[in-house]
Subunit: 111 residues, 2 copies
């Protein structure tokens, strides 16, 4: 499970994917979700990802530019996962593509 | 606990707040976090919020414009919560302000 993403100075892009699962144990979701995180991290332009599930699922992935987001959307394995998502995994989801304009962070260790 | 946010057509703004908690039971975090969600929803320009905690915490709030985000940041109760966050609640956090350019959704019910 990834922690907080280390991203460069803005501008860069964020894909905010929020979802509500259709409750179906053993439907292959967890394996595929983990595989998609691993696969996304291998794509050109990938900057990082943050994910948490608690009632709703929120996954925010960060990308260098819009072309990288478009290429990841078209990735064949990812396209199949998108199909599975609509067919059986999700009751509802929202996907938002946003340009990160400003960012700041805090680290107690001062790292 | 809110579910998925119902937001208007883009463009609008997203504040992506991702955090890692300093583990301190009974430190007042849960009450204040809930109070801040309620208070944010009363602010001018607020469009919605989505939040989940699982190892990391992710809260994405949506706003009509940057002025609304700036006003919420300056809100006195919120400013005190920010101070508490740096003083004791969080080990690390990242705050990103992003302009939502595109969005689409899926709803199995077709609603």
């Amino acid at each position: 499970m990834p922690g907080l993403a280390q991203t460069p100075e803005p501008p860069y892009w964020a894909v905010i994917f929020t979802s509500h699962r259709a409750a179906q144990p053993d439907d292959g979701y967890d394996d595929t979700a983990q595989r998609m995180l691993t696969l996304a991290a291998q794509q050109s332009g990938f900057l990082g990802v943050e994910t948490a599930h608690e009632g709703v699922g929120i996954t925010v992935s960060y990308w260098a530019d819009e072309a990288s987001i478009a290429a990841w959307k078209r990735n064949a394995d990812h396209a199949y996962a998108q199909y599975e998502g609509r067919t059986r995994w999700y009751d509802r989801f929202q996907l938002r593509v946003a340009r990160v304009e400003r960012a700041y962070g805090f680290d107690r260790e001062g790292a």
